[in-house]
Structures are given as C-alpha cells and as structure tokens.
C-alpha cells in the first residue's frame, strides 16, 4: 500500500534556509544541503526546497544548490519559487530536481500547467496554491501570499487537475505559522473532488495534527517546516506515532 508522506519544507534565501511565520519575520535555520541530508536520514519521505530569493544572482545560487542537493540526497525532492516558464522547469530538472512546484506563474498563465505536463510528464508538475478563507470563501493568493486574486480554491484546484498537474500543494494562509493544525475540512474537500494527490501545508504544531491531516483531511502527504527545523517534532518519533495510529507510513 502506498505510504502517506512526511515532507519537510526548506525555504532558501541566499543559500541559507529560513522560515517565515505567516510569511514574514524570517529566521535562519541552517545549511540547506546538510539539513536536507539530515532529514532524509531521519526518515523524511521527500523534501521541498523553496527559493524565496528575488535577485538574478540569488537564482543562480539556487540552481547550484539544487545540483548539490541532487548529488547528496537519495530521496525525491521538489523545487519551487521563481519558476515562470518552461525553461525554468528545464533548468531545475537538469540540475537534478525530481519535481517543480509552480504557484503565481500558473495563476497568471494556467497553460503553463499543460505545457509542463506534456513536455515533462504530470508527475513533475506540482501546483502550489496559497489560499485564505474569508467571508465564506477560499480565495487564492499570488506573490507569496501578498496579492489576492479572484480565483477560488476548489475551482482552481480542479482546473489544474484537469490541465495535467501531478499534485496539489495546498497551503492554508489562515493556518500557516500558527501551529493549531491543518485546514482539514478544505483538504478533505480537495481529496474528494480531485483525482491527484494533495499535500497538506500550513498549521502543523503537534504529532496529532499530522494524523488529523491524513485521516480527517484525507491528505496524501503532509508538509511542515519550523516544527522540524527547530526540533519541536522529531521525524522518527512522528512516524512511529503515525504508524501506531494505524496510518501506512514508511519506517
């Protein structure tokens, strides 16, 4: 049986890992390659590296980093941030990434999803969606959660599913950084309407939160950052706990 995945996310700026709380107030949390290697040895099932650098120079540093990650790490990893067109995807895949995650670029030009899927295969294309629940609706945001769009979460997720996305990485901006659990209702609805895997993101604070995302939220994978970076939750302990809760987990 396919295992539920635990995915540490590493935000990278100028070659260093950082993590924002509610997308601001960045704190340093180590060397991305060393940290990724440590996570993979602890039992992480996959890694996500997000480039939050804006400059051209920073992009080059990130591509080099992706190459170093590929050389050193023996589990799959996804890269995201600053991927706007096919040639960015190609650059990341040739550097050794297994998948790319696109967000704002897909909302601006949805055909990018079709293009990535037909050129490189659906399994390469992760569509990340940052959404906020307000006045009864989940609205999608772009530019790292800074700009609201008219797109609604469920419609957009269904559209990218149909366009050939391989996975959805859904971050609830209401839950991100506050450590009170994932947005399980919205996750469960995504699982029901989509035919592709959903990665839960935003809100992990305790081991129970992961269990709830898998059971109530029907998520295929759960992503977290600061609880892992600052050692608040240890991956081996978390995985043992989930296994004992009856969830299929790779130990």
């Amino acid at each position: 049986m396919l295992a539920k995945r635990i995915i540490p996310c590493l935000d990278v700026k100028d070659g260093q890992t950082v993590k924002g709380t509610n997308f601001v107030d960045l704190r340093q949390a180590g060397d991305p390659v060393e940290l990724g290697k440590a996570y993979s040895e602890m039992g992480a099932d996959e890694l996500v590296y997000l480039d939050i650098t804006a400059s051209h120079e920073g992009r080059k540093t990130f591509t080099e980093l992706v190459g170093r990650v590929a050389a050193n790490i023996n589990i799959p990893f996804t890269v995201g941030g600053g991927i706007n067109e096919l040639k960015d995807v190609e650059r990341m895949l040739s550097a050794g990434a297994d998948k790319v995650s696109i967000n704002s670029a897909a909302l601006r030009r949805p055909e990018l999803v079709d293009e990535i899927a037909s050129r490189f295969g659906s399994q390469v294309c992760v569509v990340a969606i940052d959404a906020k629940f307000m006045e009864g609706t989940w609205k999608c945001y772009v530019n790292g959660g800074r700009i609201e769009t008219e797109r609604k979460l469920f419609e957009w997720a269904k559209e990218v599913n149909d366009r050939g996305a391989g996975e959805i990485l859904f971050t609830s901006m209401n839950h991100d950084g506050v450590k009170t659990g994932y947005a399980n209702d919205a996750l469960a609805e995504l699982a029901d309407i989509l035919s592709i895997p959903v990665i839960a993101s935003g809100g992990a604070g305790t081991k129970e939160h992961f269990r709830d995302a898998f059971i109530e939220g029907k998520a295929d994978a759960a992503l977290a950052a600061s609880v892992f970076h600052f050692g608040e939750i240890q991956i081996p302990e978390l995985k043992l706990y989930l296994k004992n809760e009856g969830i299929n987990i790779r130990i």
């Binding site: 049986m1 396919l2 295992a3 995945r5 993979s40 099932d45 590929a70 050389a71 050193n72 023996n74 589990i75 799959p76 895949l93 040739s94 050794g96 297994d98 490189f120 295969g121 659906s122 399994q123 391989g166 996975e167 029901d192 035919s195 592709i196 895997p197 295929d220 994978a221 790779r250």
Partner: protein, 196 residues
Amino acid sequence: MEVAIVKYNAGNIFSVVHALNRLGINPIITDDAEKLSKADKILFPGQGHALTTMTYIREHQLDKIICDLKQPVLGICVGQQLMCRHSEEGDVDCLGIFDVDVKKFDPTRHTDKVPHMGWNSLTHMKGDLYKGMHDDSFVYFVHSYYVPVCNWTVAESEYIQPFSASLQKDNFYATQFHPEKSGFVGEQILKNFLDL
C-alpha cells in the same frame, strides 16, 4: 569496476549517476556497442514514453546490443518496461527479454490515483538483488504502466492489484521503482547489484 549507463533518449539518468557516485563508482554513459560489452555492469535507467524511447533504441540499433549483453544488466523504471515483450504505452513491441506485456493501471476507486507515485512496500522478494532485505521495505515509484506478476517476478508490490516491482532472468535484472531515490533500501539494492 567499470560501470556503464546505456545512453538513449530517456530522462533523469543523472540521479542514477549521483547514486553511483555516492557508492564510489564513476560510470560511463555510452551507446557504443564495444564500450558497453566491455563494462562489468550495465545500467539501463530512464523515464520517458515507451514508444518514443523504443523508436530511438531501434533507430540506433541498441536493441540487439542490449539483448546480447552477457554481464549483469539493471533496467530501471521505463528500463524495466522496455525489457518486456510489448507495452500498452504507445502500443509498441519492446526488447522481449521478459516474455510479459506492460499494461496501464486501471483505477477502480477514486482513491487510486495514476500515476502510482510515492513510497510503496516490497514483498515476495527473492534473489541476489534483495539479499539481506526484509518484507515491507519501502521503495520509491513513479509510473502509470506496470508489469503483471509473472514467472520472472523477484519482488512484488501492490497498487490497485499486485504487480512486478522487480524482474530477473539470467543476467537481466530490472526494477519498476527508482533505487536511486529510495533512501538506504535503494542504496542496498544498488550495492547488491554492483556486488553480483
């Protein structure tokens, strides 16, 4: 030890190169018949479409070269599928080393998503590749087509139905999963192959 990777139009061979590098091996990547025949071990990895890769292999006369190899050969992912008789992907005749046909996953429930992507466990493991491994070792898969369980199955996995996670016949070995992305378990399988 000289290790060669078969050069053809399939993607993602660099993760295999990295995995070999981590084991202290610096492989050559070649489609040259003589270089391939002289190598101690051959890897035939790849991601890609069965029809486009098989067409390329025929056009470059790699089909005969691969089938004639006498040293241990390891096909990975599409590599395993191309070593079979026929694939539903593009309805193409393949190398025919394993006398079995490659089929597309046919989901029966909403929760069965295709491609089968992620970590799944191995069972019914036998033979040299799986020396020292225990049931429920997890490995990483990404595929939409599968090889049914057959006479040459040396490891099974289950998704929608049981299927061949790995095949072996004489000097030809194959895995549907990616040992190069399968953590310590994958590393052990690669080591076992290099130790053959």
